[in-house]
């Protein structure tokens, strides 16, 4: 067998990346990392008793309402009318179902993992949040991406962590907050990214800074490590991608069909 040298081509599907564009796209990863970070920090505050559930619930409610208004304001209600077709009544109903179920199950959640050791719960939550980050839909078209699985893992982790909180109201608020930050917030982000890229960059930077600030109050070492991770993802990784792109060497072209030239009869004897 051999190759037809005339039709051989190299790097047919290779794309020319621009540094700024890659940095902009890495914003999605940064955002999701920050979401997880914010969630964990909030849980930490709740567990330590530094954050009252009422306060968190109020803040979350206000930000949700703001986000809801913003969600419609970004595209002037076009997406709601044309794409999803959801009415405001359906939204309200979903919200009520969330609230009612979470509130109803919060006593159960509170006692759910009583007899299981705290380390097991932490390990399970960490694993689930990692799975959430792995399977999240960052906009790449890959087989591993499953937004359902990623969201479910996040909910599972939030339920696990919420069951460690001191009271059932804490658990309720924690799960609600997890719902907002893992389900609603990425939807708003996606829309912002598509409609107003400048605004998106600003929101991302602000969010990252807020997450870093929150982490810094818990552990300064963690904050430094997290900051370096964010920097690496948003600056170093795009640089590496563009540098390594130069070394890409994909060959394309038809394979010649193998021809048998020798006399086969001696094999047959």
């Amino acid at each position: 067998a051999g190759t037809g040298s005339g039709e051989l081509r190299k790097n047919v599907h290779a794309r020319r990346y621009r540094y700024r564009a890659v940095v902009f796209q890495s914003g999605a990863v940064v955002q999701q990392l920050c979401s997880v970070c914010v969630f964990v920090v909030t849980w930490w505050y709740m567990d330590a008793g530094m954050l009252s559930p009422q306060g968190l619930f109020g803040a979350a409610l206000v930000t949700s309402l703001l986000g809801y208004v913003l969600f419609d304001a970004v595209d002037g209600g076009a997406g709601r009318r044309e794409k999803s077709g959801r009415t405001r009544w359906a939204d309200l109903k979903s919200t009520l179902v969330f609230a009612a179920f979470t509130y109803g199950f919060s006593p159960v959640l509170k006692t759910l993992t009583e007899s299981i050791s705290t380390d097991t719960i932490y390990a399970m939550s960490a694993l689930m949040l990692l799975g959430h980050l792995i399977f999240f839909d960052y906009g790449a078209n890959a087989a591993i991406v499953s937004s359902t699985l990623s969201l479910n893992m996040a909910i599972f982790a939030s339920v696990c962590l919420a069951s460690r909180l001191p009271r059932s109201l804490h658990a309720f608020v924690m799960v609600t907050f997890a719902m907002q930050i893992f389900a609603l917030w990425p939807m708003l982000q996606k829309k912002l990214k598509a409609r107003t890229p400048r605004c998106y960059v600003g929101v991302t930077v602000l969010f990252a800074l807020a997450a870093l600030g929150g982490l810094a109050t818990v552990s300064s070492v963690g904050a430094v490590l997290f900051a370096s991770l964010l920097l690496a993802i948003s600056c170093l990784c795009p640089y590496c991608l563009i540098r390594l792109q130069l070394l890409k060497d994909n060959i394309h072209g038809p394979w010649d069909e193998a021809e048998i030239k020798e006399d086969l009869s001696r094999f047959l004897m």
Binding site: S94, S115, S146, T148, L149, L151, F156
Partner: protein
């Protein structure tokens, strides 16, 4: 030449009379088939014999006389017997006589027309008439014509067999018949038993008819629609007594049916069922006679309540152990407590029920014991039902545990599919991917988490009660 007389052993105690049978002249032997008793009219005897001869194609004739005198030998009788030889002319005339209880018979032959009255040797051969008749040797074999000496002997014997077998019609009448001739042969022995058998045969037909009618009545009641409604039919299928009674009813129907069994297998089946039924009933009555003596039922009832109490105590201990931290397992405390209290309450209910019943248990057992007359198996079935009813709470626990566990496993398996963003496609019988709404996902995952963390508790309860149920 030796004269051989084949004498049926059943006639050895017959009263005096004349011997009838076949004379096989070429073998110089006489096969005696029956004894005709006094009084008889010689003409009628001859007529009868010729009729027999016509039907059986065997030359039956009067061979001699038989005297069985209980008292002293009377001269006149022996003379009379000798005179008979002149009426029934047969050559030679055999005279066999037996005196009282002595074991010695005298046997002599009379040859009137012979000029040389030499002393002949006589061999008296006893034979069992019934066995000879029923044995399948008598059709003369084709090989009997061969010149071989052994075969010749065989044909000699087979002639005897053949004679007995062919003269079946002779055995149809006996001395109890009203005919002019009284006979003794194998059929006349044990005639009382055969009369009883005959009577039973006669009686069994109306008995069977009555039984069939009663059985059809009972089965009709059993099949009526009132008993077929849901809770009742479910109950019947669970009680082994009802199953056993149903089997018994079928067996009785098979036995009492008027139809004749078509082949040997069915006949054997019927007989088998009949015998098993008889043995069963006999054993049942034996059990009953044992039970109702010396107030054994009272003792039984007295021991039953403490046993039930003891079982309940054991179960309570088991539940207390489960409500703690059994084997160091990490159970969900709240669910554990709920389940444990539920089961404890159940036991409490059960025990109070048993104590409420305790004054009546002896009476119930007394009446239940009566059912043993229907057969041992019925009694055993009722016993098994009683034990099942007394341990009903254990069964209930098992059912609750199993149902809860089943629900949990089923829910977990479908929620696990939801967790992965898949669903079960019923039409194609496979797992498809599916896009769920946000609220569906949320509630599904919430339930999944809860069920997952409660699974060990339920599984433990299920395991323990399954072990208790199948390994009490």
């Amino acid at each position: 030449m030796v004269l051989k007389v084949f004498f049926p052993s059943c006639c050895s105690s017959a009263e005096s009379g004349i011997l009838i049978g076949r004379w096989i002249s070429e073998q110089n032997s006489a096969v005696i088939l029956a004894v005709v008793h006094f009084p008889f009219i010689p003409v009628q005897v001859k007529q009868y014999l010729s009729e027999v001869q016509r039907v059986t194609k065997v030359s039956v004739s009067v061979l001699g006389s038989w005297s069985n005198s209980k008292q002293e030998k009377e001269e006149s009788l022996s003379e009379f017997l000798e005179d008979l030889g002149t009426i029934f002319s047969h050559e030679p005339w055999i005279q066999i006589s037996k005196e009282g209880d002595s074991k010695f018979w005298s046997c002599s032959t009379l040859q009137k027309h012979s000029n040389n009255p030499k002393e002949e040797e006589i061999i008296l051969v006893y034979y069992d008439q019934r066995k000879v008749m029923l044995s399948h040797l008598h059709p003369p074999l084709a090989t009997a014509t061969s010149t071989d000496h052994n075969a010749d002997d065989a044909s000699k014997l087979s002639a005897v067999f053949d004679t007995v077998a062919k003269s079946k019609i002779l055995f149809m009448t006996d001395r109890y018949d009203d005919g002019p001739i009284k006979l003794t042969h194998w059929q006349s022995d044990g005639v009382e038993a055969s009369i009883i058998v005959e009577l039973m045969k006669q009686a069994s037909v109306p008995a069977c008819m009555l039984l069939t009618f009663l059985l059809s009545l009972i089965s009709g009641i059993c099949r009526s629609r009132v008993l077929k409604f849901w809770p009742l039919s479910f109950l019947w299928s669970k009680l082994s007594t009802c199953e056993q009674l149903g089997h018994r009813l079928q067996h009785l129907q098979v036995i009492s049916s008027n139809k004749k069994a078509q082949n040997q297998t069915q006949l054997m089946r019927k007989a088998n069922i009949f015998v098993s039924l008889l043995i069963d009933v006999a054993l049942g009555i034996l059990l009953m006679s044992w039970l109702y003596r010396k107030n054994r039922i009272g003792h039984l009832a007295d021991t039953l309540i403490p046993v039930a109490d003891h079982v309940a105590e054991e179960l309570q201990d088991l539940l207390q152990w489960l409500m703690g931290a059994p084997a160091g397992l990490k159970m969900n405390r709240a669910l554990d407590q709920v389940l444990g209290r539920f089961f404890l309450y159940h036991i409490h209910l059960w025990i109070s029920y048993i104590h409420l019943m305790s004054p009546f248990i002896e009476m119930i057992l007394w009446y239940v014991g009566l059912s043993a007359c229907l057969g041992l198996t019925v009694a055993l079935c009722i016993l098994s039902d009683i034990i099942a009813l007394l341990t009903f709470h254990i069964y209930c626990f098992y059912v609750y545990g199993a149902r809860l566990y089943c629900l949990k496993i089923y829910g977990l398996s479908s929620l696990w599919r939801l967790f992965r963003g898949k669903k079960w496609n019923v039409l194609r019988q496979r797992v498809d991917s599916c896009s769920y709404d946000l609220d569906q996902l949320f509630i599904g995952t919430l339930l999944f988490t809860i069920l997952l963390f409660l699974l060990p508790t339920t599984a433990l309860y299920y395991l323990v009660f399954t072990l208790v149920r199948f390994n009490p």
